[in-house]
Symmetry: D2
Subunit: 364 residues, 4 copies
Amino acid sequence: MSGNSFGTAFRVTTWGESHGLAVGVVIDGCPAGLALSAADIQHELNRRKPGVSEVTTARKEADEVQLLSGIFEGETLGTPISMLVWNKDVNSSPYEPFQHIPRPGQADYTYQLKYGRRDHRGGGRASGRETLARVAAGAIAKKILTQHSIEILGHVVEIAGIRSREVSVAEIRDRAERTAVRCADPEAAELMEAVIKAAKEEGESVGGIVEVRALGVPPGLGEPVFDKLDAELAKALMSIGAVKGVELGAGFEAARLRASEMNDEFFVHAGKLVTRTNNAGGVLGGISTGAPLICRIAVKPTPSITKPQKSVDMTTMQDVEIKITGRHDPCICPRIVPVAEAMVALVLVDFLLRMSPAYSAARS
Amino acid sequence: MSGNSFGTAFRVTTWGESHGLAVGVVIDGCPAGLALSAADIQHELNRRKPGVSEVTTARKEADEVQLLSGIFEGETLGTPISMLVWNKDVNSSPYEPFQHIPRPGQADYTYQLKYGRRDHRGGGRASGRETLARVAAGAIAKKILTQHSIEILGHVVEIAGIRSREVSVAEIRDRAERTAVRCADPEAAELMEAVIKAAKEEGESVGGIVEVRALGVPPGLGEPVFDKLDAELAKALMSIGAVKGVELGAGFEAARLRASEMNDEFFVHAGKLVTRTNNAGGVLGGISTGAPLICRIAVKPTPSITKPQKSVDMTTMQDVEIKITGRHDPCICPRIVPVAEAMVALVLVDFLLRMSPAYSAARS
Amino acid sequence: MSGNSFGTAFRVTTWGESHGLAVGVVIDGCPAGLALSAADIQHELNRRKPGVSEVTTARKEADEVQLLSGIFEGETLGTPISMLVWNKDVNSSPYEPFQHIPRPGQADYTYQLKYGRRDHRGGGRASGRETLARVAAGAIAKKILTQHSIEILGHVVEIAGIRSREVSVAEIRDRAERTAVRCADPEAAELMEAVIKAAKEEGESVGGIVEVRALGVPPGLGEPVFDKLDAELAKALMSIGAVKGVELGAGFEAARLRASEMNDEFFVHAGKLVTRTNNAGGVLGGISTGAPLICRIAVKPTPSITKPQKSVDMTTMQDVEIKITGRHDPCICPRIVPVAEAMVALVLVDFLLRMSPAYSAARS
Amino acid sequence: MSGNSFGTAFRVTTWGESHGLAVGVVIDGCPAGLALSAADIQHELNRRKPGVSEVTTARKEADEVQLLSGIFEGETLGTPISMLVWNKDVNSSPYEPFQHIPRPGQADYTYQLKYGRRDHRGGGRASGRETLARVAAGAIAKKILTQHSIEILGHVVEIAGIRSREVSVAEIRDRAERTAVRCADPEAAELMEAVIKAAKEEGESVGGIVEVRALGVPPGLGEPVFDKLDAELAKALMSIGAVKGVELGAGFEAARLRASEMNDEFFVHAGKLVTRTNNAGGVLGGISTGAPLICRIAVKPTPSITKPQKSVDMTTMQDVEIKITGRHDPCICPRIVPVAEAMVALVLVDFLLRMSPAYSAARS
């Protein structure tokens, strides 16, 4: 049983290799009657696109989405939506030396072992290019969420140890997209940019932490005991290539708090039950509370660096030293922001659609 | 669509409320021909049982498992295995005051909103008692893993900020189970015990970090691009009640490393490809590498404390101050160890069984 | 990947062997707030119970259902509902001779091949006793359907070539349950009874055809292109042990009609679009039309007969002649009626719950 | 939850509307290392293609498949295989009159009710053109089955009441594809052709019965108690547009047999257990026996006929009389043969891949 689909009610299946003909996605379960155009999707794809600043890869890709099905007269039909982006101007030559030499920190080795073969060109199926399909699907998810007044906000909170100060929702909205590193704290952003450029010059790369918040999430999303909202978010975010950790609300810091500090106490405010703190990050018992959803991911430094590295030629089983050429992101955090947002959007739409009207009826 | 099942090939469905008649689990997909007795399961249930030391709740539960189906003449039939534990001697009176008052940090509030009702007794379905069913299923998963020479080792690495020193596999095997806190570093264990007891006396509770390692995991487990091994582990572990964060290998520390530090370089050793470091935590591209699997979870302080807390009476919508009585764990970390091990075991067995023979045939 | 679960939104998992400790079912996805008691389920179990007339097996089973979870103060919680029936007074001795000799027409041979072992007592997992769990789950499904004004009516339309005349809904409601064979045409019923008794005396058994109608089904149920309403019904009904064929509406007769005879033309009646015929059986393009759902199943003669039969002793690989003793149904059709109704009810509730409110919103 | 995917281990998702840009399919779970080219798929698509004889529609479609992913250097990668066929030279004008008038016997009415809109051009998503994607996926399934020495043979056994005589496997192999109606009995084929032509001239259409046999199926396929081999076949075949009934082995005839006639007795032949009859159709207890799999489907007459029919204009809610123009199949049976074969192939491959090696290990 393979695992190229995500979600149950809003089910997304991605396909495509980095240097194959195209990369695409099929969405099964998008409600009928949603106004949808290629422009809605292109906007998000452009946010993910490489080549837009010095801190990302210099590779140029048009990445123009083509909508193939599920839409009629500008509205969704309730049938599967198929989309693809053609892979243009791919240059596979920098990958030729590594056909039999697994690059450290990459999926080369494990794909070879699991499948007995792999498309080595551009990382094949394990390429970050697959996230393009996630972002395209996420763009539709976001459009549905907007109709439910749910907003997804991603930003970079740390790069190479440099932390953003605490920022407000307004600051994220206004500033994150304006900086090359997608950090809402301009001073930290400047330092982050500098450290990325320095790493790049040394043939190195750096990691960081990305935060995604979801505002306006209604209470009741999430299906305990296994398909909890936080559990599905953890899976969704950990399934992004470079992610090594996921946390919600207080996260790992919760391990050092006492219950009286951690528990978000309840109060009445304007006739409604509220909390003043949000250490839970918007989830209790796997179900959304109505408070903002807050999750963070640890992003490792991009493994493709020009610095020499040790590896093994698997045909001769000899130690070798490799130098990776080509143009790679010295820090993937800024480009992971729209991907992480897409994954959070997919989880939320899925849970929205998993609630049935019969269910709601019984509830009221 | 509800979410009380986990896994695809080794599919586990848990059921039961804390103070209902029983708590149980059905496993669909356990291979035929596995020697299995109640004792195999009881051993793991006893590790999770409360009342065994001063640092856990004083509640006494026999928690004797009853096997109802799927086994014949001491071997599994390949048909569903149904197991249950009867809930005996439950005392629901300490929960009566909270029928309409959600306890901070608990699922009371969100269950009420989602379902319009809840079984308030003992936390109902959201009770930690549900993990008993996970541990029972995990015991069978572990038995299968043992046949594949895979070992699961859980231990506490941090409580209330007190960290275990780096410990070897041998130390975890030998010592973790001997200390009341399941920490393999005896000196740290002593301090942890002291801090838990102090918190308890103050009517408080503390959190910590639990690590699970899996040794002997063959390469090739995990199904990219969504059902990655690390993604499923993240979901599995985050679905445990008190968990607020999950990380693999270097985890959040990876955000502060450079690629040359993070990447696990490949070498030839005794004719085989190996790595000397394991920052990846045993997973590359969502597929197991063959190196030990290493994951850690952040466990929040148990929300049930005797210290007064603010909440709201939802019938009158008035602020109230509550005091939770009854006997609760001042630190759940030691008892989460077998639960986290069970979840890791369930993920690994599921991926083992997701590989088909036809698939393997094509691979070779 | 095993297959002991049915449905996606109203997901039913059955477990248990015929002569094991118990047979049971877990339902995940039953909406919260449904009034439910053991009596609701017992009523349907009693309809399936053997020993109630001369035309069914003389075996006596109390078959008392026990509700273990998911219900609180008489209402469903939205959490899994676990139910079981204990297997009492089982007598496995008549099955001892067949431990290594597969009975013709039974699952003995295939279970042995697939799993390398089987519980031979009473047919083990392949026993008709497993349908008890389906009927229990179906009873809850029916209760939900009743709230949506959907009625399920099953009756026998043919036994051993004796056909019921065309009967009205009123006749099915009034008469089917009153005859021993569950046929709404009293004259045919009498003949059917006679032919069954004659077969029984000869050590034989006979088959027949059962029809299930669903009235009040709203238009829109069914999820093309694979999870069509008729496709899921076909699976649901074919999964019942003795069923060899399934048809909807005109069914196999459609193969002999011309389009002008087969097509149900549309008319306006009282301001609404209607059809005067229902050759479609209530489904077009895999989606319910709002007309009554009509499906029929071909039921083979019960394979367990006392007449001598040829088989093979698999330990010696010698031809043998066997005589099956014990008490078996000379015609299973009457007892299949509540099982078939249960399966239709499960399909309908599942599709009702698969429609999400967000989906509906977009539709309106 | 939508239903455009089929299978669990070999999971097929189809997409596309009849007059949209393209129709396609994504297969997730095809094992790595399968030699595969477009020609393998084109061969099966050509068998389904219209315009090849007088008894099918005169519409011409190139239907050239394009392989977009999952293949590298002529072999499958184990990653999703995406394929599409562009919709060329579509003429939507014959469908304009029916934008608000549902055609009898078609899915127009139910799609409109369910989704609140539909793509009326060429039947949109409900068009028989969707089966092209099934045939493409089935071509890959067949290639895998061939490696396991499993052969799928479809043929027409009845049209408009004219029955093929009993034919041997050799006759099906040799003759079915040579006749315009895909019937292996040349005399019946001639009569069938004549009756189809006559119906066409009258502006009518006729139905029939298609049989699919699978030879070489190993024992052990199928997952009781719900995902039985016959149950999944019933779903798979009933999900084809025009199918109103499905039967296995003796099928509906079983309802008229006695157990001593129906039961396939076991004998030893050449040291192996065999049966001389195959009334079971190759399945016992939902698991394949090793005998040929035999299933038949009832195919209704194509609903699109030129004869005047009654319908309703849904904008004015007035009765109207319609005449359907355009070129339609006067009998869809011959073209359904490759579609039914594809569905049987998909079911068999799925069950082959659902068996895990760990499972097999426990079995041996």
